[in-house]
């Protein structure tokens, strides 16, 4: 088991966000985490990543296939990009920070896959929202992490890039990574999921194999909102 | 300034300072007790409703 979370509960100041959350992340499995906006999906993901200490409960990381501490790749709403560095410098910084040996051709290959190759030497400050998100994807997938925690990675991507994203996620799963994916397009992405965790009423209303998850019963399924309104609200949806 | 005036000023400074501080503490205490009273009233109302 790569990751084990036991009876997590969390407050944001006086406000309770969720309680009694138990979750296991086996290797080579894709878990879709869904729920209404503001249900606390992003907060739960940050707790699993170890960024936030839960008010109560515990998160333990197990071992990866090589018996070491699993490497965590986290993709949040923010892009982790330094505007004053070029795309290549950004990638080089994050991989060397993680002590992950990467050759020149790997950088070229990943930039090619996310269609940013022509902008490798460009400063990231001029990037559009979609390009920044694709660079963020390149960063996460370049790490070849054992645990992938993706928070609405599809935001700002056009159709073609979304297909690239899906291919990368499935490829990572087949290589044995444990993935938790918060998607804003549940109907579409349910097909690829091995298991589903549905956050509702401050609890995990459903947590089990994707086959058993009946989308229709869920009242509070979020309709995929048009892209602008979320941006107008300024990032952090929940 | 004969020597005893020095002691008087020093004494005034100390006791005025301590007194001022204690006064602010008292004011904060009354603000807190108002908050406690308000909270208990809320709790009683809730108990009455149930």
């Amino acid at each position: 088991m790569l990751l084990r979370a036991r009876d997590l509960a969390h407050f944001y100041g006086p406000r309770l966000i969720f309680k009694d959350i138990c979750l296991d992340l086996p290797p080579g499995a894709l878990t879709v985490l869904a729920g209404a906006n503001g249900a606390g999906k992003s907060t739960l993901l940050k707790i699993l990543a170890g960024l936030i200490r839960p008010s109560t409960g515990s998160v333990e990381t197990g071992e990866n296939s090589r018996g070491q501490k699993p490497r965590i790749g986290y993709l949040g709403h923010q892009t982790f990009i330094y505007p004053e560095l070029t795309a290549l410098e950004n990638l080089r910084f994050w991989t060397s920070l993680h002590g992950h040996a990467v050759t020149g051709s790997d950088y070229a290959a990943i930039l090619e896959r996310v269609e940013l190759a022509p902008f490798a030497e460009e400063k990231a400050r001029g990037f559009s929202r979609g390009m920044a998100q694709r660079l963020n994807l390149a960063r996460v997938f370049l790490l070849e992490a054992d645990i992938l925690l993706l928070d609405e990675p599809g935001t700002g991507l056009d159709l073609r890039s979304s297909a690239v994203l899906l291919r990368e996620i499935l490829a990572a799963r087949d290589k044995g990574a444990g993935i938790i994916w918060i998607t804003h397009n549940l109907e579409e992405d349910l097909r690829h999921a091995d298991s589903v965790a549905f956050l509702e009423g401050k609890r995990l209303a459903f947590y089990g194999p994707a086959k058993a998850f009946r989308l229709s019963e869920r009242a509070s399924v979020p309709r995929p909102e048009p892209f602008e309104t979320r941006e107008a609200r300024g990032g952090e949806p929940c | 300034m004969n020597s005893y005036e020095w002691i008087m000023y020093a004494g005034i400074a100390v006791w005025a300072g301590l007194g001022l501080y204690i006064f602010t503490l008292a004011r904060r205490q009354s603000a807190l007790s108002r908050r406690i009273a308000q909270m208990t009233r809320l709790a009683d109302e809730e108990a009455a409703e149930r």
Binding site: P14, R15 | I7, Y9, V14, G17, L25, R28, L32, R35
Partner: protein, 228 residues
């Protein structure tokens, strides 16, 4: 240790009463019992107020230091409340110590401020802990603010001996070491003891305020959890 700490504040009123009586007795000691110091004359009697103030101010900052470490170790809010209370009382005492010190300096050396090591250290401590209280006033997440305050409290106290050493090395003026006659020593001890009661009463009372405020915020949170 912790539940003893939470029950301690109810001793505050008794301590305050005992402190008041003790201080009244001290006034008699200072002005009647203690002999007038030969070289500096009566103003030397300010010393009987100045020393306890400085001494108990320093001990308050030591309490802030210890409770800061305790908070970082246990993350229990009671330690944060204690360090907040001790810092505030410590700052009041330190400011008064600097005030009386400079009045005494004005009399004995003719100028309001001298680079005397003890005075400089007290003044630097006032600046640092005023900064500490300003940090405590910022509106941050309660957990984060307590952590930041704990760290500032620890780092500030670590700096005190260094400030004292460097100030002493810096200043050429070495204060005339006045020889204390036995009666004077008794008076100083009595005053320090009396101030101990006053300090303990004040700190515990301020601690009670901080604990009450915390409990109120806690119950507000619990009410939200039940209804949320």
């Amino acid at each position: 240790m912790r539940n003893f700490l939470e029950k301690a504040p109810c001793a505050a009123p008794w301590l305050a009463l005992a402190g008041g009586l003790a201080l009244a007795a001290c006034q008699w000691l200072i002005f009647v019992y203690a002999p007038v110091e030969s070289t500096m004359g009566p103003p030397q009697k300010i010393f009987y107020l100045h020393l306890p103030l400085a001494w108990w101010g320093l001990i308050s900052f030591f309490v802030v230091f210890l409770s800061g470490i305790a908070y970082i170790y246990s993350r229990k809010p009671v330690w944060d409340a204690l360090s907040g209370a001790a810092a505030e009382v410590g700052l009041v005492l330190a400011v008064l110590a600097v005030l009386t010190g400079s009045i005494w300096a004005r009399h004995s050396w003719g100028l309001w401020w001298t680079w005397d090591a003890r005075l400089t250290t007290a003044l630097v401590m006032c600046f640092v802990y005023a900064g500490y209280l300003i940090v405590r006033g910022l509106d941050m997440q309660p957990g984060r603010k307590a952590l930041v305050c704990a760290v500032v409290g620890i780092v500030a106290f670590l700096d005190v001996p260094l400030v004292f050493l460097s100030a002493r090395l810096w200043s050429y003026i070495h204060p005339p070491s006045i020889s204390l006659e036995p009666e004077m020593k008794l008076t100083v001890a009595a005053c320090t003891g009396a101030f101990a009661l006053l300090w303990a009463g004040l700190t515990l009372f301020r601690f009670k305020l901080a604990l009450d405020a915390q409990r109120l915020d806690q119950s507000a949170m619990e009410r939200l959890m039940r209804r949320g």
